[in-house]
């Protein structure tokens, strides 16, 4: 796999994509909880769901088919269109 390419552009923009700005506050936001299908991730996310709910924050739940592969593009697109931020149960 190629590791370095030469920039073909006029270099008026940064070469790396800018990450989306981080949320200042969760108030009034919709937050996604992504279960990556790893054992007991649901326990952690259920508890977060309760804590966020107690604070009046809207929560949507998502689940990847398997933790071994990146999220399917459809799932990424759905999350991007439905929520303001995602909390992912990343590991054991």
């Amino acid at each position: 796999m190629t590791s370095v390419l030469l920039d073909p552009t006029g270099e008026l923009k940064p070469s790396q994509r800018e990450p989306v700005a981080k949320l200042d506050s969760l108030a009034g936001k919709t937050i996604g909880l992504l279960d990556i299908s790893k054992a007991r991730g649901d326990v952690f996310l259920d508890r977060l769901d309760d804590l966020l709910g107690d604070r009046g924050i809207t929560v949507k739940r998502y689940k990847k088919p398997t933790f071994t592969r990146p999220a399917p593009l459809d799932l990424v697109n759905i999350m991007a269109s439905e929520v303001d931020g995602v909390i992912e149960g990343l590991a054991d």
Partner: protein, 476 residues
């Protein structure tokens, strides 16, 4: 390597190097300080002071082009070098009288592995003798390189060849120009366009290095203010740049001026036009539905480049534009899609001119004059009609200008007959006025053998001081 003495560079794959193995042994036996660098087989030759140079770093550092090479050093400074095997030279060079006794007196050497295509570029990059000005973009380990080019907005919608430093260096080495040389300001954002940036985009377009002189000439022509690239890029009209190539370079790089020349299938035609458009897109930053405001665009905007058939009785388009016959050149036009002209009945030039003129009157709008220039590709079978009657390019061009005059009363677009008459009277154009400006028709000979067809390719509906003029550049 000792600071004084001899250095030899050899490879086992070279018969001359194998031939002189006893010579190297003889030098060593005579007490000469000798270091032998070998490019392939680390067990060759059988001398004691042998160094493995399979990585070719020493060969590169010593700038070895041929093996065997024998170099004499004095206090770390090269004094002289010999290339290949010439018995008397080696004897006087080393001062050993009987050197290589019994061997053939002369054998040429072989190419050094350090200058093999692909290797030379890797070595130059590894040793830092080549520096790019372009920003390096590091990809993540799992990132697909072609997808990465899409993600960064570098593509015209089709996959591009990822511009690795090795590929770009091979492209740059095809011209005797410095990579950092600025050839102009690329619209719309007026960004300095270097030879190196053009090379990067030529790699992405799929060009072979041999095409690069043509690409560079095309970009330079596009940046000529007369071509008005900014306006052509930004216009709501259909047009994009079209590159016509003349001269010996056409055969040298295998271009097409025959069947399907405007279509798919020829790498040079396809990639040279695309390289120009990718350079405009990437360096200048003009993107569709952004600065590029074209209402429809045209498939030609992926890139349009073809060659002219130079072997006809007519002047080529480059010659018409002032280039000496036999030289290679590009000529740039603005171009919409082609409009086919089918005339399978005309057998004399007067009739064929009337046919072509009828279709030419429809360019832009049948009730519009002096709007844009037009290129007319005269196919071989139509060309034969003119050639057999002895009509030159100038004859046909003049006849077409005459035959495309339009009655002034017909130029009140879309209105009623009465309004047209009134408009003609008030504007004083009741007579015949020319459809095209003087010099605004460009005849080009190209096309497949079969088919009594020609093709009209109109351009941007602006010209001259308020728009675009064709621009020609010699290819160097």
């Amino acid at each position: 390597m000792s600071s004084s003495g001899y250095v030899a560079v050899v490879k086992q794959d070279c018969p001359t190097c194998v031939l002189i193995e006893p010579v190297l042994q003889q030098l060593e036996a005579a007490g000469v300080a000798l270091t032998v660098y070998v490019q392939d087989d680390p067990d060759f030759p059988k001398v004691s002071n042998r160094v493995d140079d399979r990585a070719l770093d020493k060969s590169f550092e010593l700038d070895i082009e041929t093996v065997p090479t024998l170099i004499r050093f004095n206090n770390g400074t090269e004094q002289a070098r010999l290339i290949g095997w010439e018995q008397n030279e080696w004897r006087s060079f080393t001062g050993i009288e009987q050197l290589g006794e019994g061997l053939p007196t002369y054998r040429p050497g072989c190419g050094s592995k350090s200058v093999e295509p692909g290797i030379a570029e890797q070595l130059a990059l590894r040793h830092g003798t080549v520096k790019f000005n372009a920003r390096e973009v590091s990809l993540a380990e799992l990132e697909d390189d072609i997808e990465a080019c899409f993600d960064r907005g570098w593509s015209d919608g089709l996959p591009v060849v990822p511009p690795t430093p090795e590929r770009v260096l091979r492209m740059l080495n095809a011209v005797a120009r410095e990579g950092h040389e600025i050839i102009g300001q690329m619209p719309p954002f007026g960004v300095d366009c270097s030879v190196e940036k053009v090379a990067i985009n030529a790699v992405m377009a799929g060009c072979k290095p041999a095409y690069f002189p043509v690409v560079l000439a095309a970009v330079e022509a596009a940046l000529d203010p007369a071509f008005c690239l900014h306006g052509l890029l930004a216009t709501t009209w259909f047009s994009g740049p079209m590159v016509i190539v003349n001269g010996p370079v056409r055969q040298a790089i295998g271009m097409n001026w025959q069947g399907n020349l405007l279509g798919q299938g020829n790498r040079a035609n396809a990639s040279i036009g695309r390289a120009l458009q990718l350079t405009v897109r990437n360096v200048g930053g003009g993107l569709p539905q952004d600065t590029d405001q074209s209402t429809y665009g045209t498939p030609l905007k992926f890139g349009c480049c073809f060659a002219e058939d130079d072997a006809t009785p007519w002047q080529t388009v480059a010659e018409t534009m002032g280039v000496t016959s036999g030289r290679s050149a590009v000529t740039l036009f603005s171009a919409d899609g082609p409009l086919g002209v089918a005339d399978q009945k005309s057998r004399d030039p007067e009739s064929l001119v009337q046919s072509l003129a009828g279709s030419l009157k429809a360019v832009n709008h049948v009730e519009m004059a002096n709007g844009s220039d037009a290129v007319v590709l005269i196919g071989p079978e139509h060309g034969r009609v003119f050639d057999q009657a002895g009509w030159s390019k100038a004859d046909v061009t003049a006849a077409l200008h005459q035959a495309t005059h339009i009655a002034g009363k017909d130029l009140a677009m879309g209105t009623t007959d009465a309004a047209k008459a009134s408009a003609a009277e008030s504007t004083g154009t009741a007579g015949q006025i020319p459809k095209f400006r003087p010099g605004g028709l460009y005849l080009v000979r190209a096309g497949g053998d079969a088919g009594l067809f020609s093709a009209i390719i109109p351009g941007w509906v602006m010209k001259g001081s308020v728009g675009t003029d064709p621009v020609t550049r010699e290819i160097r």
